[in-house]
C-alpha cells in the first residue's frame, strides 16, 4: 500500500512537470524567433549575453502573465522594432521580401513553359 502511495505521489509530481513543459516549450519557440540585438548572428535562445538572459526572463514573465505568442511579439516590436523578429511580418516594407521568391518562381515557370512550347513545335 505504501508503495502505491509513493507511486501516486511520483505520478503527481510528473504531471506538474508536464504542465510547466508547455510553457517552457512556448518560451523556447518564442526566444528562437528573437534576434539577440547585441550579439552577431545569434538568437536570444542561443545567446548567454546579459541582454539575452534578461529577455528570456521577460518572455517567461509574459507567458506566466497569460500573454500569447503574438502579444509578446507585439510587445517586443514596440520596444525594439521589427528587427528583433527573425520572421518578418507582412507589411508594406516587406512585400518585396515576401513576394520576390514567388515572382522568381513564376518567372522561372514561364521560361520553362516557353522552352517546352518551342521543343513541341
Amino acid at each position: 500500500m505504501n508503495f502505491f502511495k509513493f507511486f501516486i505521489l511520483i505520478l503527481i509530481v510528473f504531471t506538474f512537470n508536464l504542465s510547466k513543459a508547455d510553457e517552457i516549450q512556448l518560451q523556447n519557440k518564442i526566444t528562437k524567433n528573437l534576434r539577440c540585438l547585441i550579439c552577431q548572428g545569434q538568437s536570444v535562445y542561443d545567446s548567454d549575453s546579459e541582454f539575452a538572459i534578461s529577455l528570456k526572463l521577460v518572455v517567461k514573465n509574459k507567458i506566466e502573465k497569460g500573454l500569447n505568442e503574438k502579444q509578446i511579439y507585439e510587445f517586443l516590436t514596440e520596444k525594439y522594432g521589427e528587427w528583433i523578429l527573425y520572421d518578418p511580418q507582412l507589411n508594406k516594407n516587406t512585400y518585396f521580401l515576401w513576394f520576390l521568391p514567388l515572382l522568381i518562381f513564376l518567372f522561372g515557370g514561364a521560361i520553362i513553359i516557353k522552352k517546352l512550347v518551342i521543343i513541341k513545335k
Partner: protein, 171 residues
C-alpha cells in the same frame, strides 16, 4: 541582335547592383532601433541608497527635462562617462535618474562613493527586465526625457559632443 539585348541587360543589371552596394558602403553598420516608445514606461522599483520603493509617476512628475542613465559598476565605459554626468548634475538644470543594471549593491555603492553621485534617484534593476521595458540594449545607455516623452536616446557612453547636445536641449 538577341545577344546585344542580353549584353545590355547584363550591363544594366551590374550597374544596378554596383550602385546599390556602393550606396550600402556609406550606411552605418551600427543598428539603432526605430522604436515606438515615446512615453516613459510605467514601473515601480526599489532604490539604492534610500532603500525604498518608488513609482515612475512620482519620479518623472514635473514638466521638465530628465535624463535617465542606465549604468553598472562592472561597466568600464560607465566610468568614462561618469564625470560628464557629475558635471551635468552640478549644473542643476536637469534632474538625472540612474538605473542600476544587474549590479552587486555593495559595488554600486562603492562606485557612487568613489566617483560622486550625480543622480537624484537610483532605481534598481536586478534582473534586467526594467531596462527592456525602456527598450535598452545594455549599459551604458542614456535617455533624454521632456514632458514625460523620450526625445532622444544615446546608446553607449556619453562624450563631450553628446553632452553639448544635451546642454543645447536644456538651455
Amino acid at each position: 541582335m538577341k545577344n546585344r539585348i542580353v549584353y545590355y541587360l547584363l550591363v544594366i543589371f551590374f550597374i544596378f547592383v554596383f550602385v546599390i552596394f556602393y550606396r550600402g558602403l556609406n550606411n552605418s553598420n551600427l543598428y539603432t532601433p526605430n522604436t515606438n516608445i515615446k512615453i516613459v514606461p510605467e514601473f515601480t522599483s526599489e532604490t539604492l541608497l534610500k532603500k525604498k520603493s518608488v513609482d515612475s509617476k512620482d519620479i518623472f512628475n514635473k514638466e521638465d527635462y530628465y535624463l535617465l542613465n542606465i549604468w553598472a559598476s562592472w561597466c568600464i565605459p560607465c566610468k568614462d562617462e561618469h564625470p560628464f554626468l557629475v558635471n551635468l548634475g552640478n549644473s542643476k538644470r536637469i534632474e538625472i535618474i540612474g538605473l542600476n543594471y544587474k549590479d552587486n549593491l555593495n559595488n554600486a555603492e562603492k562606485f557612487i562613493n568613489e566617483l560622486g553621485n550625480p543622480y537624484s534617484t537610483i532605481l534598481l534593476d536586478r534582473d534586467g527586465t526594467k531596462a527592456i521595458e525602456w527598450g535598452a540594449f545594455g549599459v551604458p545607455e542614456t535617455f533624454l526625457i521632456y514632458k514625460n516623452k523620450i526625445i532622444k536616446r544615446y546608446i553607449g557612453p556619453l562624450n563631450s559632443n553628446l553632452v553639448n547636445e544635451i546642454n543645447n536641449y536644456i538651455k
